[in-house]
Symmetry: C2
DNA sequence: ACCGGGGTGTTACCTCGGGTAACATCGTCG
DNA sequence: CGACGATGTTACCCGAGGTAACACCCCGGT
């Protein structure tokens, strides 16, 4: 079927190792899992980054397509947002190790250094940006807002999702509600707590500059 | 003043190197900058992580204290949120390399692997969590919501701030507005765009699962 | 005056991971 | 048969984190 079945086999092996060892799996380990030695991997993928990229792109398709589809769903806006959130969380829940690989920039990769969002997530951010810019009336600042929000929302879901995945404090549905509520301005709408005098913070004076 | 002036000197050198080379600066480079050799660094800091942690804590204080102070400011809630956002963005704007180090997890650090938020940011997230839980009336789900929001907001500001820092698409004040608007439910409040038929998305059929 | 300990420094080495050069093998096509 | 391309190997290089062993200097106690 595909023109390069060996490459697929190698990716399968890499996949297995990543599932087992998480990102940061060594080239040696991957080669061993594939029953071969390093140079072959390098012939096929150039360098480690190439391998990871190939592996990433393999899984990105699914998540990206799912998110894109969720964004295009003909629902009420709130429902659509919840649908997207749920899609993403379901994705990272099903294959944690792989999605850690997808969502967290390469350790020690100098190329994309300084970007909080891994390539796969940047694509999602762009997708959100496009959806917002195309569907929501935001006035003159449309493009700026859409782009800032795209990144912001992606980062929000990344961080919150990571925490949720790590310490499963609630069901997925509840988490979706929590995030949708945040996006829906519940922070703005909620009342002040009456007991505002002892907020529990332990910093009496901001002496530091 | 401090009990260990040498240590401070070493940290100064490390600081210089990180400013120049970004995170991922090698121990050799740092040692060279300090005019000494590696083992001394290891005597003082244990391992690379210790060095980075020390370096981080040095700068964290300022940012964390500033954010904490901003969170405690006796302002209208919206103004307080804007104040916090501005404080954070001002911080990362003033020393980009250092704050990249602060905000991005250690390259190749197996300990905190899988955490989207570096320690420094986790502290900020906790600060936000505490502030929200202590100041906003969120009903029965208070703790869960506050924690999820703390992480989420931190991640949002991280990603958006990173993008803004990278490609300065607007002034800091404008960026603060954009993010505050997002947090304020403007996404929910805005009207649908009338041209909803051609949303520009290029995914005709959601064939992927 | 002597000795010991703590801080500062060095050289030389280990391990491990990414990456490469050079060589061997096998199947296929002209 | 010969050439070529894919597959595979061993053996190596390099750089980075990390450590062992040794040397020096100062200072305080007996």
């Amino acid at each position: 079927m595909s023109p390069e079945p060996r490459r697929e086999q190698l990716l399968n092996a890499a996949d297995r190792v990543v599932q087992r060892d998480g990102p940061g799996a060594s080239m040696n380990a991957i080669a061993a899992e594939a029953g071969i030695t390093k140079p072959i991997l390098y012939r096929h993928f150039g360098d480690r980054n190439g391998l990871i990229r190939a592996l990433t792109e393999r899984h990105t398709g699914g998540l990206l397509a799912a998110v894109r589809a969720a964004l295009a769903e003909p629902l009420e806006r709130r429902d659509r947002v919840e649908h997207v959130l749920d899609t993403y969380l379901a994705g990272i829940e099903s294959r944690p190790q792989v999605y850690r690989l997808l969502t967290h920039p390469e350790p020690g990769d100098p190329s994309g250094a300084g970007n909080a969002l891994a390539p796969a997530l940047r694509q999602i951010a762009e997708e959100i940006t496009r959806a917002v810019a195309g569907q929501v009336d935001l006035g003159a600042d449309r493009e700026l807002l859409a782009e800032a929000w795209g990144r912001g929302i992606t980062g929000m879901v990344l961080a919150a999702g990571d925490w949720w995945l790590e310490s499963k404090p609630c069901s997925r549905a509840r988490m979706v509600q929590a995030l949708a509520d945040l996006l829906w301005g519940r922070l703005a709408a909620a009342a002040d707590l009456p007991t505002a005098l002892s907020t529990g913070s332990a910093a009496p004076e901001p002496t530091a500059g």
